[in-house]
Assembly symmetry: C2
Homo-oligomer: 203 residues x 2
């Protein structure tokens, strides 16, 4: 189970690392998550340099391909060299995007005649590409899904994990990041056997 | 207005970049956000290398100091060289933590006799340091605050921004990251004047 996140220059930090962090909490021996880009590093909107784990073409043999978002997305949605790297197939892959990432899905022809969501600033641009834009946090059509608004990353990753590993793992995973007292409880974590650390303080 | 985020090896990606991303969306000419660490780079729990913008001692002249979280936190809460870098003062600084970061606040003597929150896995350890741990997403005592559960980052950053810039900027900021249709609306973004991009698609 190979999951690839596609990053690019001027992508949004929160969306990229929300997907990455959540996916890395999945507990399954065959689960492999990687960030792919055109070069060894991409630089986010805020100037964070992120080392990539592989090149874009590796997306084509991934089970799941998720596109990041941000100010750099429009440029990539019109970058023929970038787009030409992808040979994605919803028949054999789950494909998704967060926020403006839907522009790339549209440019790849994956949203033709389908409803989709996007970040408000990209709404007009996505509509102009022939997509029916709906004001929803998450829209799935078979194996292609769009999510919008950074915190809707939960729905996108939840969709991937539920399809791949079932509802129980989805619920376990999403509970881990909820606010304490608002979805995450101290009772969710039975205390483990005494460790060196707790022993230091034990009465 | 200088805001410093303290990062360290084996910190949680989501918590670090959630704080960083949100703080970078604040609109104010004097707003300055930086990630501080012991070295030029720290490596997160999942192996992401993050370049720091300055050394720990710069926290002591910051207006706001926020501690990251994760598996590496316990080690730092017992690292005398790390702790000795800080000379923080709640009389002149806002000081906060997300998730396990509260262990460092406690180690710095900032939570003595106060209620605080933390990630469930750190609850027992924080109690053993003499802190009254409460199952809440956010607890503020004057200028010292703890938040817990990754998505409670919103409350922590909202607290900082409201204190520094007022309620209106807090509300604007937090709206930007909500899911579309669940807190963020397409109507929140009036369409800007025609840009080159939209002109390409305009009918």
């Amino acid at each position: 189970m190979k999951i690839s996140i596609i990053a690019f220059d001027d992508c949004t930090d929160l969306d990229l690392f929300f997907m990455w962090d959540l996916l890395n909490r999945v507990e399954h021996p065959d689960w492999q998550v990687q960030i792919l880009g055109e070069r060894c590093c991409v630089t986010s909107e805020t100037g964070i340099r992120v080392q990539t784990h592989g090149r874009l073409e590796d997306a084509n043999t991934s089970d799941v391909v998720l596109f990041a978002s941000g100010k750099g997305t429009t440029r990539k949605a019109h970058d023929e060299l970038f787009l030409a790297e992808f040979n994605l197939d919803p028949e054999r892959q789950m494909i998704g995007s967060i926020c403006e990432g839907s522009l790339i899905l549209a440019a790849l022809g994956l949203l033709e005649g389908k409803p989709a969501t996007t970040y408000p600033t990209a709404r007009r641009e996505l509509e102009a590409m022939g997509v029916t834009v709906v004001e929803k946090p998450f829209v799935a059509n078979g194996n292609v899904a769009t999510a919008a608004g950074c915190l809707a990353t939960q729905y996108l990753i939840g969709w991937v994990v539920e399809q791949m590993l079932g509802r129980e793992e989805r619920e376990r995973l999403l509970r881990l990041i909820q606010p304490v007292g608002e979805g995450l409880s101290y009772d969710d974590f039975p205390l483990p056997a005494t460790t060196n650390t707790t022993a230091m303080y034990a009465n």
